[in-house]
């Protein structure tokens, strides 16, 4: 038996899931902060939440859900040994990530242009609840955006490996774990969207 070539598929996936649980608790903590401050400053949060761009939020939700579908389809495609399709689907996922981040750039530019950013004169002179809302917004959404960037990069690396043939239908745990990470990015957004854009 060649032990050097041994691959522990179950172990690799278990490790990824354990990492995803830590991510879940990280973002869960941020959502908990949001919930506690919402109960402390309901009126300020409502006033601040009305200025959020629901259009950008909805568009980015659709983009991320679609990218998640493409990533899930890529896993199916590699299991069926359809390499060209895998590359096409991963390319689509990465394109969605880029569009998402571009939308985020436009949205944040508009907000920063309106004088809404952490410690801006407008927020510093306003009620404390409003600046708490925007601080949490920039922290949570910024951290999520960082995850989009990391996930997109990870999937690009996986796509290169698929093209080279080191990730294939017999050994695709890297693609599967990359897709799992991408789905987590989607999951977090599924909660950011109603909390920051809709319920207020």
């Amino acid at each position: 038996m060649n032990h050097a070539a041994h691959k522990d598929y179950g172990g690799a996936k278990l490790g990824m899931w354990l990492f995803l649980f830590t991510e879940l608790l990280l973002f869960g903590g941020l959502f908990l902060l949001y919930a506690v401050y919402l109960s402390r400053y309901p009126h300020e949060f409502t006033a601040a939440g009305r200025d959020m761009h629901v259009g950008f939020g909805t568009l980015n939700t659709v983009i991320l859900i679609t990218s998640s579908l493409l990533a899930a389809m890529a896993v199916t495609a590699i299991q069926r040994n359809e390499r060209r399709k895998v590359l096409f689907l991963l390319g689509g996922t990465i394109l969605c990530a880029a569009i998402f981040l571009f939308n985020k750039y436009l949205e944040w530019s508009a907000e920063i242009g309106n004088g809404i950013y952490p410690n801006s004169p407008r927020l510093a002179s306003g009620p404390p609840g409003e600046s708490v809302f925007y601080s949490l917004y920039y922290l949570t959404v910024g951290l999520h955006g960082l995850h989009v960037l990391v996930g997109g990069t990870l999937l690009a690396v996986v796509a290169v490996r698929v093209k080279r043939g080191t990730v294939h239908s017999g050994d695709f745990v890297l693609l599967e774990n990359g897709a799992l990470y991408w789905h987590l990015v989607d999951l977090v957004w599924i909660f950011i969207f109603p909390l920051y854009y809709l319920i207020l």
């Binding site: 278990l14 506690v36 859900i65 069926r80 999951l187």
Partner: protein
């Protein structure tokens, strides 16, 4: 994990697209609810829809439906831990 992990379940494209359509429909529903229903009820409604959507993503996109008992229990434990954090924090904040 005692079972053979080399046999992988392949989720069909059709099923994935069906889940995607359900997710889009739920996104439409949550936006509609936010526009037509004001009050505390829609906070819980929006969160319920978000939980339903994440359930679909975890079950089908993340293959949890086809995983063994170990991963399912670990996911359950992680969610219980998060629920305890949230529950105890609010127990403190609301009754202080």
């Amino acid at each position: 994990m005692t079972h053979d992990t080399t046999a992988h379940h392949i989720v069909s494209y059709g099923r994935l697209v069906t889940v995607w359509l359900a997710l889009l429909a739920l996104t439409g529903l949550t936006v509609w609810v936010a526009h037509h229903n004001v009050g505390i009820g829609h906070v819980w409604g929006s969160l319920a829809i978000a939980c339903l959507k994440s359930g679909l993503v975890v079950t089908f996109f993340m293959h949890m439906k086809y995983e063994g008992r170990l991963l399912r229990w670990l996911l359950f434990m992680a969610l219980v831990t998060l629920a305890i954090f949230i529950g105890l924090t609010f127990f403190d904040v609301l009754y202080r």
